[in-house]
Symmetry: C2
Subunit: 244 residues, 2 copies
DNA sequence: CGAAAGATTGAGATATTTCAACTGCGGTGG
DNA sequence: CCACCGCAGTTGAAATATCTCAATCTTTCG
């Protein structure tokens, strides 16, 4: 499931699946389209649940905020992903969904979806698979958070991002993180300085390269190098690593 | 969602819901009952997906194992919880489901469930709410793993357990952890020694008490004390805490 | 241009891990 | 029955990964 096997350059089946689901939704349900800009919230924690949202373009972070003001990025969503699923049981959303870039989300009424699903079982399949994939992804995050050292977590994060791009038919050698170091660190359970240091170490080891302008764009010569770096960081104590 | 509010002694609505779902399943679907003993696996990672499982009694851990042999407890399941949901999308289970005690699980064919759900929408509601609750729970775990210090995580774990008991109408002042310190530590992302020290500190602060025989049974005079301890451990650096 | 925000890097502080010793308990077999 | 062994747990001391604090640098943007 979550092992460190190499990743295909692109993943036609996933590309197909995502396109099919978006098409299916368009064809069988009333959809409320909404254009968002970076910083806009699609829904907020506590707000009454009613709609599920599917990402058509752009990308989004899910922010869970605890009682005492600690806030935590608990997930990232790209094209084809569903948002708001955690709101079904409680009848209210469990986190904030925040756009990280310009994009478009499709709002779908949950009750309408259920009704339509009786006639169109593929809708139900899509919904269930989306929930199931998110559960799997969450479990992988937990594994990462609780068993990997900081460097490996950051490498794993980049690989996750590259995988997400690959599954959408995009190139994976050049990724533009639209997140600050602080946001990445929050998502990965570490401080922004630790993220920065990990990235610097990877750059020194030529696992990644920064483009001339801006340290937000990251060039990844080969994804397998990330996997190797992850393995090395996991196996070896930092004090024994060649590259500081 | 995940704030540190006090917990009702018992939660009639949850008790009701769980009983209703079990009844509903019995009435509307063919169910394969299976008795398990501690250590038995209900399903294993990689095994072909076909059934969902609902806990009728006992409790279970979900173990996610990574490529390189690291293994991680990613969830715990009590009466009324569903297992195997992560297998829907991939058509194979994503982790091992291991019984921690004698109990009974009900196996339900996923295709039969979907078919029955057309006639009995309440089944679909139950399924979706189960998935949604698990997503919410996972997000809470991530929040805990990445923002809380060790002591607070352990306290949060005990509170989570007490809540789970309360939601099932059981007493919460006396809980029997059927997990070793190593298993708890694995689940919480820390070593067994750290778990032990955290429990010792709580015992010294009279937040919990060990029963005379065995350090697996934990007496919790008042659940709110756990919440207070959590807050204190979260706010204050350990070096400033009164109790070591 | 200047200010503000993001990012990098270093040095010291600290929470947690690691390593190790010791205790208690339950089972097993002589 | 008791000695012995292994497993679970506790506790201490040293090692270390990460955090915190602080200085510096870059980029962006009004």
């Amino acid at each position: 499931m979550n092992d460190a096997t190499s990743v295909p350059k692109y993943t036609p089946s996933a590309v197909r699946r995502i396109a099919d689901v978006l098409q299916l939704l368009q064809d069988s349900l009333p959809i409320q389209r909404r254009i968002v800009r970076a910083g806009d919230t699609v829904y907020q924690v506590g707000q009454q649940f009613g709609c599920l949202y599917v990402v058509n373009s752009g990308f989004f972070k899910m922010v869970n905020l605890s009682g005492e003001g600690r806030e935590q990025v608990v997930g990232l969503h790209f094209k084809g992903d569903w948002m708001g699923l955690e709101g079904i049981a409680a009848a209210q959303y469990g986190c904030d969904a925040v756009a990280m870039d310009t994009g478009e989300v499709w709002g779908i009424r949950y009750d309408a979806l259920r009704e339509a699903a009786v006639r169109t079982p593929a809708l139900l399949t899509a919904l269930h698979e989306a929930m199931s994939r998110e559960l799997t992804r969450d479990h992988d995050s937990m594994l990462s958070l609780s068993t990997l050292p900081a460097d490996a977590r950051v490498a794993g994060f980049l690989r996750y991002w590259a995988d997400a791009l690959a599954q959408r038919g995009l190139r994976t050698d050049q990724i533009t993180l639209r997140m600050t170091r602080a946001e990445i660190g929050n998502y990965l359970g570490m401080t922004l300085e630790t993220v920065s240091r990990a990235l610097s170490r990877m750059a020194r080891g030529d696992v990644i390269r920064f483009t001339e302008k801006g340290r937000r764009d990251i060039h990844i010569p080969q994804v397998e190098a990330l996997t190797r770096f992850m393995r090395a960081a996991t196996a070896m104590p930092l004090s024994a690593a060649a590259i500081h």
